[in-house]
C-alpha cells in the first residue's frame, strides 16, 4: 500500500515535497513510465478510477459547490473518460517516431524526431472544474511518459481529498502522487525543480508560477483567464444568441474560465436580449432560481463577497436578477445594463453569474474596445453576416474565437485549448496534451561508410574556395534531393523505371536475336 500522500500543512512540508520529487525522479530515471504498455495501463486505470467512482466524485463536487449532477457528469467526468479513451486508442500512433524523408545526398543517414518525456511534471489544478482540471492534463502527462505530482486546488476541498484518496488506489504511486495544500504549500512545492509545470489558475498566480519556474528553467503551460467578451451584432438571431450566451454564463454559476464575461451590443439588441433572457431563465429555472437544483453555488465566502461588492458598486442598471444570499453562497443569474467601461464590473474577470452589457454602436466600436484590453481566453461573436464574423476573426486575437455560440469550442475534437498574452501560454486537449508533455528530440544517425564522404569531407581544413563551393552547393540543393512522395518525384521515378525496363528488354531481345542469327 502506498504511503499516504495526504499532508497537513504544518509538518516538515518542504522536506516532504523534496522527498516526493526525488522519489519520482528516481522512478523516472529507472525508465518505468516509458513503455507503451505501462502508459496504457495507467490510462486505463485512470479511466476505471472515474468510472468506478462516478457517483462519489459527483457527490464531492456537489459538496464543494453544489454542482448539479448533470454538470459534474457532462462537463467533468464524461470529458475525462472521453479523453482517456482517445489517448488509449491513439497513443501508439502518437508515440511513433516522425521520420524525415529519404534524401539522395544523404543516402545512409536516418533522421527522425523522437518524443522524450520531460521527467517529473507538476500539475496545479483549479477549483471550478476540480476533477477535470487536475486529471485532464494528467492524461496527457501520463501518455507522454512522465511521472506526475498533482496539486489540486484547496478551495474545492472535497474534490481534492477525493483525488488524493483515489489516485494512489488506481495509479502507480511510485510514479504519480497527489499533494494537498494551500498557497504557502504551493510556494514550497514550487521551490523544487520540476521538468514541466502545467497550471490552471488566474493571471496573477500564473505570473508567480512562471517566476518560480524560471529559477529552474522549467517550461510551462499556463491556462489562465481574463474577461471573455461577447459581441452581439444587430444582424443576429437574438433568440438563439441569448439562449447560448446565458447558458454559458449560468453553467457552474459563471465560474468558468471561458464563460462569456460581458456583452457589447447596441441598445436595441440589448433590449431584445434582455427580453429573451427573462423568458429563458424562467423556462430553465422557474420563478425562483435559488430553488432550482440545477444552479451551482459560489465556491466560497471570499468569492461571494467579492461578487456581491462588485454588484453593489456597479453604476449600471440591474435588469434581471441581482438577488444574493451569503448563507447559501448564491447569486442569481444577473444582467446589468447601461454598464460603462469604468464600472466596477469591468475591473476584473467576473467569474460569477453577473452579465454586464455595454453599449456599442458599431462593430468598429466593439473592436476598438476589445483591442484596448488584455487578450482574452475566449472571444465570442454573434452575427448572421459571415463578413462581420470574419471582421472579428481577422482583426482580433484571443485564445480561441467562437462564432454564434459560447464555451463549446472547449472539448471540440481537434481544437487546441489555450490562451495568449494574459490569458495563458501553451495549449492542450487530445493530441495537444500529449505534445505538451513531450520533448521533440531530433536524431540524425549517420554511418561510417565512405559513400558521400567526398562531399562531406569538404568541410575540413585546410579551407579553400572550391571546398567552400562544394559545401555551399550541398547545403543549398539538399532539399531538392528529398524523396517526398511528390507527384513530380513519383512520376520521374516511374518513368525512370519504365525506361530502364524497356531498355533492358530491348537490349536482351536484340542480344537474343543476335545470338540466334
Amino acid at each position: 500500500m502506498a504511503t499516504s500522500s495526504l499532508l497537513s500543512a504544518d509538518t516538515d512540508v518542504s522536506n516532504s515535497y523534496a522527498k516526493i520529487v526525488d522519489e519520482l525522479r528516481e522512478t523516472f530515471d529507472e525508465g518505468r513510465t516509458l513503455p507503451l504498455e505501462f502508459r496504457l495501463n495507467q490510462l486505463k486505470a485512470l479511466h476505471l478510477l472515474v468510472e468506478e467512482n462516478f457517483d462519489k466524485m459527483l457527490a464531492a463536487v456537489h459538496k464543494d459547490m453544489r454542482k448539479a449532477k448533470m454538470e459534474g457528469a457532462s462537463y467533468e467526468l464524461e470529458l475525462l473518460k472521453i479523453d482517456a479513451v482517445a489517448a488509449i486508442r491513439e497513443l501508439k500512433q502518437w508515440m511513433k517516431r516522425e521520420m524525415m524523408p529519404f534524401n539522395l545526398l544523404l543516402p545512409l543517414d536516418k533522421a527522425y524526431v523522437k518524443h522524450d518525456p520531460y521527467g517529473v511534471v507538476l500539475i496545479i489544478g483549479a477549483w471550478n472544474y476540480p476533477f477535470l482540471l487536475s486529471l485532464q492534463p494528467l492524461i496527457g502527462a501520463i501518455a507522454a511518459g512522465n511521472c506526475v505530482v498533482i496539486k489540486p486546488s484547496e478551495h474545492s476541498s472535497n474534490a481534492a481529498t477525493t483525488i488524493a484518496e483515489l489516485v494512489p488506489k488506481y495509479l502507480d504511486p511510485a510514479c504519480f502522487r497527489v499533494v494537498l495544500g494551500a498557497a504557502p504549500e504551493t510556494i514550497e512545492l514550487l521551490e523544487n525543480k520540476f521538468d514541466y509545470i502545467f497550471a490552471t489558475s488566474s493571471t496573477r498566480i500564473g505570473k508567480c508560477v512562471m517566476q518560480a519556474a524560471a529559477k529552474h528553467l522549467t517550461p510551462v503551460t499556463l491556462e489562465l483567464g481574463g474577461k471573455s467578451p461577447v459581441y452581439i451584432d444587430d444582424d443576429s438571431d437574438i433568440e438563439i444568441a441569448s439562449r447560448r450566451v446565458i447558458w454559458g454564463k449560468c453553467i457552474n454559476l459563471g465560474q468558468t474560465c471561458i464563460a462569456p464575461d460581458y456583452i457589447l451590443c447596441s441598445k436595441s439588441t440589448e433590449k431584445r436580449f434582455i427580453e429573451h433572457v427573462k423568458h429563458t431563465l424562467q423556462e430553465w429555472y422557474g420563478q425562483d432560481p435559488q430553488k432550482s437544483s440545477d444552479l451551482t453555488r459560489i465556491i466560497n465566502n471570499q468569492n461571494f463577497l467579492r461578487l456581491q461588492k462588485l454588484l453593489k458598486d456597479t453604476k449600471g442598471r440591474i435588469a434581471i436578477g441581482g438577488e444574493t444570499s451569503e448563507e447559501d453562497l448564491f447569486i442569481s443569474p444577473t444582467i446589468v445594463a447601461d454598464v460603462k467601461a469604468t464600472d466596477s464590473l469591468m475591473t476584473e474577470e467576473l467569474f460569477g453569474p453577473i452579465l454586464p452589457i455595454l453599449t456599442v454602436n458599431s462593430k468598429e466600436e466593439a473592436l476598438k474596445f476589445i483591442k484596448e484590453r488584455p487578450k482574452p481566453l475566449a472571444l465570442y461573436v454573434f452575427s448572421k453576416n459571415q463578413r462581420t464574423l470574419e471582421y472579428f476573426i481577422e482583426k482580433t486575437t484571443s485564445g480561441a474565437i467562437c462564432c454564434n455560440d459560447v464555451v463549446v469550442q472547449n472539448g471540440w475534437e481537434g481544437l487546441p485549448f489555450g490562451g495568449v498574452g494574459d490569458s495563458g501560454i501553451g495549449h492542450y486537449h487530445g493530441k495537444y496534451s500529449y505534445e505538451t508533455f513531450v520533448h521533440k528530440k531530433s536524431v540524425v544517425q549517420r554511418s561510417f561508410s565512405k559513400v558521400g564522404e567526398k562531399i562531406y569531407a569538404a568541410r575540413y581544413p585546410p579551407y579553400n574556395n572550391w571546398n567552400m563551393k562544394v559545401i555551399a552547393g550541398f547545403m543549398k540543393y539538399l532539399h531538392i534531393f528529398e524523396m517526398r512522395a511528390r507527384p513530380v518525384t513519383l512520376f520521374a521515378t516511374f518513368m525512370a523505371g519504365a525506361i530502364a525496363s524497356v531498355a533492358v528488354t530491348v537490349g536482351w531481345l536484340t542480344g537474343f536475336k543476335k545470338r540466334n542469327d
Binding site: L217, G399, D405, H427, H439, S442, V444, S447, F448, Y460
Partner: protein, 451 residues
C-alpha cells in the same frame, strides 16, 4: 495595458506596437517582401558582413560564409517559398454531427517580438530567429550581442535600409540596456545565450506572461565506442570542436571513451590535426580567435588549473585572443574543465569503460543541447539515444543534425526550451488560435438543446 515603468526603450517599443496594430505585417505579400529585402541585404553586403565577422572573431571566410551567410540565405529561401503555406489555417476533418459548423486553427502573430542574439554566430543568431518572427507576421526588435560589436553595428546600420523601419528595429545595448529592454512588455521573447542569461530572461518575461524560446547551452557529451571508425570519428569530432575555435553551442564539449578508444582516437587526432593545420597553428588563417579577453582569460585559467594531461596543443596568447586547439586526457569529473560549458577549443577526454557508464555519467548532469555517439555497433548508439535525453542527437558525426531541414532545433532543461528552424521557426512565433464557426440554424440548435 500593463503598467511598465518608463525606461529608455518605452517609446520605441510603443512605436513598434503601434506599427503592429496598424496591421501592416499581416498580409503575406508584405512579409514575403521583407524577407526578400533581407535576402538582398545579405547578398549586397556579404563582403561587409564577412569583414565584420573577421573583426569580431577572426572568423575565416569559409566558416563565415557557410555557417552564417549560407544558412541565412537558405532559411530565407525556405521561408519565402513557404510563408503562404505555413500561414494557412489547419483545417479539421469534417464531423458529421457538426456538419453545419466549421472548425480550424488560425496561425496568428504574437505581436511585438524581441530577439536577443548571441556573439558566436552573431549575424546568424540574430537574423535566423528574426526571419521566423517576420514570416509569422510579427514586428521585431533585434538586440544583437554587444560582444560581437562590429557585426552588431553593421546590422544596426543595414536593417533600417532594407526592412520597414517602423516594424523592424535593431537596438544596440550592453548589460544594463538589455535589462531595461526586458522591462518592457513583449509579446514573445527569443533568446540565444548562456544558461544564466536564459534564467534572467525567463524571470523578466514572467512578469508580463511573455512566452519564450530559449536556446541555451551546456556541455554536449560525445561518447566514442571502441567499435568506432577512428579515422572518421576523429575528423568529425575535431571538426565540430574546433570550428569557430570551439565557440559553438553544439560543439562536442567533452569525450567519454575507454582507454583503448582514447589511444586510437589520439593516434588519428594527431594525424588529422597535422593534415589540417600543419605545424604552426597560431599563424594558420583557417583558425578564428576567442571573442574577447575575458573569455580568453577564462579558458587560459582552465588550462592552467586542469589536473588532466595535455596531449595536444595547450599554447595560449592573451594579447592575440589565442587558445590553441587542445586535447586533455585523464580528466576526472571534478576537474575545472568539467564544471561549466567550455565554449573554447579544449577537448577533455574522460575515461569510461562501457556505454552504460557513459549513460550514467551523462544522466547525472544537466541535460545537454546535443548528444553525440560514435559506434559502428548500432546497439551502442541506440542505448544512448533511448537512455538519455538532450536537445538533439547526432550519431557518428557532430553538428550534422543541423543540416537536416525539417528537424526542430532546441534544448531541454538547462539547455533550453522551445525550438525553431524552418517551419518550426514559423510555429515558434505564431499563436495557434482555435476558431469555431457555428451556425444559427434551428437544426444545430435542436441538436445542442440537450445542454
Amino acid at each position: 495595458m500593463s503598467s511598465v515603468a518608463k525606461n529608455a526603450y518605452t517609446e520605441m517599443v510603443s512605436s513598434v506596437r503601434k506599427a503592429y496594430n496598424s496591421g501592416k505585417t499581416r498580409p503575406i505579400s508584405f512579409r514575403v517582401q521583407q524577407l526578400k529585402n533581407m535576402e538582398t541585404m545579405i547578398r549586397e553586403n556579404s563582403n561587409e558582413i564577412l569583414d565584420a565577422l573577421a573583426k569580431d572573431l577572426r572568423k575565416p571566410k569559409l566558416e563565415a560564409t557557410l555557417y552564417e551567410l549560407e544558412i541565412i540565405l537558405n532559411e530565407l529561401k525556405g521561408l519565402i517559398k513557404n510563408c503562404k503555406k505555413h500561414a494557412e489555417p489547419d483545417k479539421l476533418p469534417v464531423n458529421l454531427l457538426a456538419i453545419l459548423d466549421t472548425a480550424y486553427i488560425r496561425k496568428e502573430p504574437y505581436g511585438v517580438v524581441l530577439v536577443l542574439g548571441a556573439w558566436n554566430y552573431p549575424v546568424l543568431l540574430s537574423l535566423q530567429p528574426a526571419m521566423g518572427a517576420i514570416c509569422a507576421g510579427n514586428c521585431v526588435v533585434i538586440k544583437p550581442s554587444e560582444l560581437a560589436s562590429h557585426s552588431a553595428k553593421l546590422m544596426a546600420h543595414l536593417i533600417p535600409k532594407y526592412l520597414d523601419s517602423d516594424c523592424y528595429k535593431v537596438v544596440l545595448a550592453e548589460v544594463e540596456g538589455t535589462k531595461d529592454l526586458l522591462k518592457n512588455k513583449w509579446d514573445y521573447i527569443f533568446c540565444t545565450g548562456g544558461t544564466n542569461v536564459g534564467r534572467a530572461v525567463m524571470q523578466a518575461a514572467a512578469s508580463n506572461l511573455t512566452p519564450v524560446t530559449l536556446e541555451l547551452g551546456g556541455k554536449s557529451p560525445c561518447y566514442v565506442d571502441e567499435s568506432a571508425d577512428f579515422d572518421l570519428a576523429a575528423k568529425r569530432i575535431l571538426w565540430g570542436k574546433f570550428a569557430n575555435l570551439g565557440q559553438t553551442c553544439i560543439a562536442p564539449d567533452y569525450v567519454l571513451c575507454s582507454k583503448n578508444a582514447e589511444k586510437a582516437f589520439l593516434n588519428m587526432a594527431n594525424v588529422v590535426l597535422k593534415e589540417w593545420y600543419g605545424d604552426d597553428l597560431k599563424t594558420n588563417t583557417d583558425i578564428p580567435r576567442i571573442v574577447n579577453a575575458r573569455h580568453c582569460k577564462r579558458l587560459k585559467a582552465l588550462l592552467e588549473t586542469t589536473r588532466g594531461k595535455i596531449v595536444f596543443g595547450g599554447d595560449t596568447d592573451e594579447k592575440d585572443l589565442w587558445i590553441e586547439p587542445t586535447i586533455v586526457v585523464d580528466v576526472e569529473e571534478d576537474d575545472p574543465l568539467m564544471q561549466e560549458e567550455i565554449f573554447g577549443p579544449i577537448l577533455p577526454i574522460i575515461t569510461v569503460n562501457s556505454v552504460d557508464e557513459a549513460i550514467e555519467f551523462i544522466n547525472k548532469r544537466p541535460r545537454p543541447l546535443a548528444l553525440y555517439s560514435f559506434a559502428k555497433n548500432e546497439k551502442m548508439n541506440d542505448r544512448l539515444i533511448e537512455n538519455t535525453t538532450s536537445g538533439g542527437v547526432c550519431v557518428n558525426d557532430t553538428m550534422w543534425h543541423m543540416a537536416w531541414n525539417g528537424l526542430p532545433f532546441g534544448g531541454i532543461g538547462d539547455s533550453g526550451m522551445g525550438n525553431y528552424h524552418g517551419k518550426f521557426s514559423f510555429d515558434a512565433f505564431s499563436h495557434h488560435r482555435s476558431v469555431l464557426n457555428r451556425s444559427f440554424s434551428m437544426l444545430s440548435e435542436k441538436l445542442g438543446e440537450a445542454r
